[in-house]
Amino acid sequence: MEWVIAVAVKVIVIFTWALLTVLYITLLERKESAVIQDRIGANRASILGLRLNGFFQPYADALKMFFKEDYTPPFVDKPFYYLAPLVSIVFALIPVGAVPVADSIGLFGRKFPLSVIGSNVGVVLILSLLSLAVYGVIFGGYGSRNKYGVLGGMRGTAQAISYEVAIGLSLVGVLMVFPSLDLNEIVHLQNRYILGGWVPLWGIFLQPLAAVLFLIAGMAENKRVPFDIPEGESEIIGYFLEYSGMKFGMFFVADFVEILLLAALFTTFFLGGYNLPWLFTEGFHFPWGGSLAMSPIIVRIVQFVTFNIKLWIMIWFLLLVRWTYPRYRFDQLMDLGWKSLVPLSIFNILITAAVMVVIR
């Protein structure tokens, strides 16, 4: 019974954390784009006259979304139309639960992973759930019964499917150097050090090419500028153009959840996840010989904070790209995916394999 309660608490806490992060990604996006574009950005939402430079803006936005008229055009294909936003957000949100935000702890005599899905095949799970998310785009575009929507859905489907190949292949290199499908184990393996203990064995140092490929493919999967082909707000408006109110809001939030997911996955695979350099389960062990003992709970908290800092740096970077680049064209995007990213991923696998054989 205690176990069930503990799991329920974990699920609630982690998803609350995820959704709060998503809310503040929207704020960061508004603020960052404002700085880039020489504006101030949203700063008017207030509670009792307290503005805090836009701190409450995300809540105001969310409330507005809920209260907007939710109009369903009469010509839509209802089942698909209603299903699409749900599919989009659910399959974007669940993979977030597979990402460990801190090391697992011992609870009631069992190992208690600090991720919602403490699966030992986490990587495969995430990839498969990501593949399912594309149904949101297909259903949305097809169910809208609108030519623009269909075009957007078609583009989105082609894009998602081809970039999944690139994501999968770029991760193969990572899985070769960290031989595990368990995300927590992959993070553990990045807490090793080389060069006299000074340099951590993070994925980005072992697999720099894979890191770049994963990031590009992930951004394409995310469907935002420079890869916002299915949306293309100035050309075809997007697969969600017949949606309004919170149904549109769910597509919108799904976009931001995917940013969080991409940043979290990149952090986990390439930036050492929740690892702070030289922090181990029982405290710090510095390469110059010093050490600092800490209680396991404090260590988990430090790990969680570390994970969040890395996460926000990645989110900042993703938003920076979004606000400075123009958009690819559909065929050019396919070229980039199939003619550059996929061959390079395969090349990366071969190189990794060759180096591993030589080192052994």
């Binding site: 075009l151 420079p226 293309g232 100035s234 050309e235 680049y325 064209r329 050019q332």
Partner: protein, 432 residues
């Protein structure tokens, strides 16, 4: 394979200025495109036939609404030619400065959407921000940002304000900065190059056959600029280059406009030197205009100089001749006369009232100038009455729009919008 007929516009987020493009798609490729214009038709030419020559000036503001002063200029020059009057040198230099400022606003307003259509919204805001500073200059001088009506028959409405130099300098700095920033963001950006190079190519002969002019023609490498070919104002006396493209694709159109902004800045800087030392105006002991009017109603004449509103500086008697041609029958009187004497009042009325007004001799005239998008010309037929018999505007985008369908055929649907943005279609000018 079944083809899809897609209606882009007139209500479409990217169709600035309401245009309808019916495209036949094979997948994403445009097989056939049918461009439908006329959604912004306001009957300018017909309206002009029922207005006096002076009343038409404000209508010209609303033609190309991103460079209103160029329309004012083209119209004023056509009427002046018809009347055979010459404009004083200071007014000509002022006209040149404002023509070039308008050219810059026009080009900025063209490049900004090119960026936006390609998803680079930051570029859009940079350009529009720079344009705001130019509009500050216009605002301070003409009293309006858009409905300027500043260049009038016989000269310009008023002289520049005292802080004109500072405003202009600030605006030029901001434009230079925006051009530099946008150049850094786009000009060598691989994605931008991919999206614009070799897209919607127009060959030189096609461009000539369709009657292209302006940056779109020059992007194909053809050297034709009205300012060089048929110099007007003092374009002979200033140094500037005419940037040319090579391929006539979207990138060249973007690049030609970017480089023309720099050339326009050069012209402005040279022209500003000529008008820098304006007439000195007194500040103290001036009579308020309403006092002068009241006195004249009592039959008195108040001696001394009038205090004029901030946008009317230069309309004093001494300086009036430097900005307006000295032909009493065609230009309004200086404000001193208007407010204080019955003769001035009558002279003003005779110009403005319907049934009186300017009566050019019978004849026809066509004067082209280099507008923001190409050769902008007014063809005016006078039958000797106070209203024109016919006014025709040669709008540069009209001929370019006639080729838009051909330009986008064979490219992707995603190229339609950037191409459309790159020709800078202005609804007011196109549909009239």
């Amino acid at each position: 394979m079944e083809r899809m007929l897609l209606n882009i516009g007139p209500s479409h987020p990217a169709m600035h200025g309401t245009i309808q493009i019916k495209v036949e798609l094979d997948g994403e490729r445009v097989i056939k495109a049918d461009v439908e214009i006329g959604y912004l038709h306001r009957g300018f030419e017909k309206t002009a036939e029922n207005r006096t020559y002076i009343q038409i000036v404000p209508y010209t503001d609303r033609l190309n609404y991103v460079s209103p002063l160029l329309n004012n200029l083209a119209y004023a020059m056509a009427i002046e030619k018809l009347l055979g009057i010459d404009v004083p040198p200071r007014a000509k230099w002022l006209r040149m400065i404002f023509a070039e400022i308008s050219r810059i606003t026009d080009h900025l307003t063209c490049i900004a959407p090119i960026g936006m259509e390609l998803g680079a919204f930051t570029v859009f805001l940079y350009m529009i921000k720079a344009r705001e500073f130019l509009w500050d200059v216009l605002d301070a001088t003409t009293g309006a940002r858009l409905t300027t009506s500043y260049i009038r028959i016989g000269g310009v409405k008023a002289d520049v304000p005292e802080n004109f130099g500072e405003l202009l300098k600030k605006a030029i700095e901001e434009v230079k900065k925006a051009v530099k920033d946008v150049g850094g963001l786009l000009s060598k950006n691989p994605i931008f190059l991919k999206r614009t190079r070799d897209i919607a190519i127009v060959s030189q002969s096609d461009a000539l056959n369709y009657g292209f002019t302006g940056p779109v023609l020059r992007s194909t490498g053809y050297y034709y600029d009205v300012r060089k070919a048929f110099p007007y104002l003092y374009y002979d006396d200033v140094d500037f280059d005419v940037p040319l493209g090579e391929n006539g694709d979207n990138y060249d159109r973007y690049m030609v406009r970017m480089r023309e902004i720099e050339q326009s800045i050069r012209i402005i800087e040279q022209a500003f030197k000529k008008i820098e030392k304006g007439p000195v105006r007194e500040k103290e002991g001036l009579i308020e205009a309403y006092e002068a009017i009241k006195a004249s109603q009592r039959g008195e004449y108040l001696e001394g100089k009038l205090k004029l509103g901030p946008n009317l500086e230069g309309m004093e008697k001494e300086t009036y001749e430097s900005i307006m041609a000295n032909v009493p029958e065609y230009v309004p009187p200086p404000k001193e006369d208007l407010y204080r004497t019955i003769e001035g009042m009558i002279r003003h009325f005779k110009l403005i009232m319907s049934g009186h007004g300017i009566r050019p001799p019978k004849g026809e005239v066509y004067i082209p100038i280099e507008g923001g998008n190409g050769e902008l010309g007014f063809y005016i037929v006078s039958d000797g009455t106070d209203k024109p018999y016919r006014v025709h505007l040669r709008a540069p985008v009209f001929s370019i729009m006639s080729a838009l369908g051909k330009m986008i055929e064979g490219y992707y649907v995603a190229d339609v919008i950037p191409t459309f943005a790159s020709i800078n279609m202005i609804g007011g000018e196109l549909d009239r």
